[in-house]
Amino acid sequence: MSKIGIVRDSVSVDKPVRLENINKIETTVNKIAINYTAQVNVNNSEVFILLSNPAPLVYTGAYIRERVLKWIKDGLASNSTLTLNDYLDKIVPTQVGVIGGQTTGQIITAVDSTAACAATPNIDVALEVSGGGDPIIGTGIYLVNGTTPTGPVAPGNYALAIDTKQYFITVNSASNISFIEICPLLLDFVYNLANLSKPINNGNPDAIAFNIAGGSPFGGPGIPTYVDYYFQGFTPSFGGFGFPTTDPNDIAACNVFGPTENNVFGLDNGAWPVGLINNGTTNVPNFAALDVAFGVKLADSDVANFTNAQLYISFDFNANGGVIADSTFVPFQIQFSQVPAFTGSPGGGIPGFGDGTATFSSAMGIPGPPDAFTQLFRNGVYFPGGSSLIGTANFATGTFADFDPNTGIVMIVLQPACL
């Protein structure tokens, strides 16, 4: 029978730690890492003991290492199971064990909820929670470098950011969350498609436009492409037969080398929804009767730059009187074969986009391919000019950028002064 020692964690659970076959021990003022496999890796039989250290200058990493080695030596020689806590004086182990399911995020100190919800957290942490959802009271939280724990979080109040959500939390002396409050979503811009009707001209503050793959989805008989669905009999402004430009590059979309009919508001533009409303010939939706709005949260509400901005979509903005705080905005993130495509979607997709399902299927009821949205949404997006609803950022003109449909995050601004 193998020899073990005990480490009592912050909630008085006695955790066993194997004392035999240890390959490597690493100590800092806030951490003990015990490896049973020579190649150090989180998945390679590695046990962490995170420490609340009241006096790092006294209880140094070398001191802690010496105490751990003595605990192991005594434990191997003893007939009893010895407890590491008895060797660590005033140092308190907070979390003990293998790193299992965790969620990474960022924190920064905050005096209260208001400050936390307006803060920009930048200190990397991990939480002992996985599978999505909000952390609950009692969830362990610790500092990380990448995904490797480096120490407990000091007691106090913090802003916590996880993906697109932000929280005000209190961390107790055991490095567990003892209070949590979800911050309301603060958006810099809202683009309400209900305000869009033909003709949409430059300067319309709701005129967000997404580049679309005009020949998608490739779903087979009965499943029209984007162009088939909206532009039957379309006549280009230069005459003859042809198709609208649904995926214009930034040069054309923004009139960089002079006016072009392919620009966002031009006669040959077919991007969604501006180009469709202006130039569509069939199945053109009446957004005044639908409830679709997009939102944007800038990386910094006081800086006029869309880089790293997060896109959101709502299906109840108008139903809630156009009040952001009363509405539900979810990240505009397109995942392969996800149905519904967005939480809260009334038809699974976007009202006014195809038949409103997640597969852009036809009115004949023939389902499109599961990756229809992945095919349809390209990277290009046009943001009209305007001023932030919550900060000082002001855009005198429109902006043309590339966003990642998978995350809903703007990757790069291609034309900061677009139309």
Partner: protein
Amino acid sequence: MSKYIYINGAIQSNPTNQNIGLVPIDEVLDFECEVTAVPLQFVVYFGGANEITSNQQYNIQVDNNILSDVEAKIQFDRAFSRTYLEAMDGVDPVTEFYPPSGITVTALA
């Protein structure tokens, strides 16, 4: 000699108790209730010299009329720790583990 902890699904007095899984205690590196979308899983981690960590995941159902998820996590971890140390010190090849009142182990995921 190999020793095991048998994981039972319900408290000891439950007449319809079922054994859900068995834990080889010599290989245990760690154990903990983890908050997941399930929402709770009890995970036992295994590993050792020159081994990749592996685990068993037990789905847990909490009666929130009796205790919260956080209380359930702490009570379950403490209960398993007691059983584990009892098994380590004892001579019996099998030690039975029963979850605390208000918690049911529903399946080995």
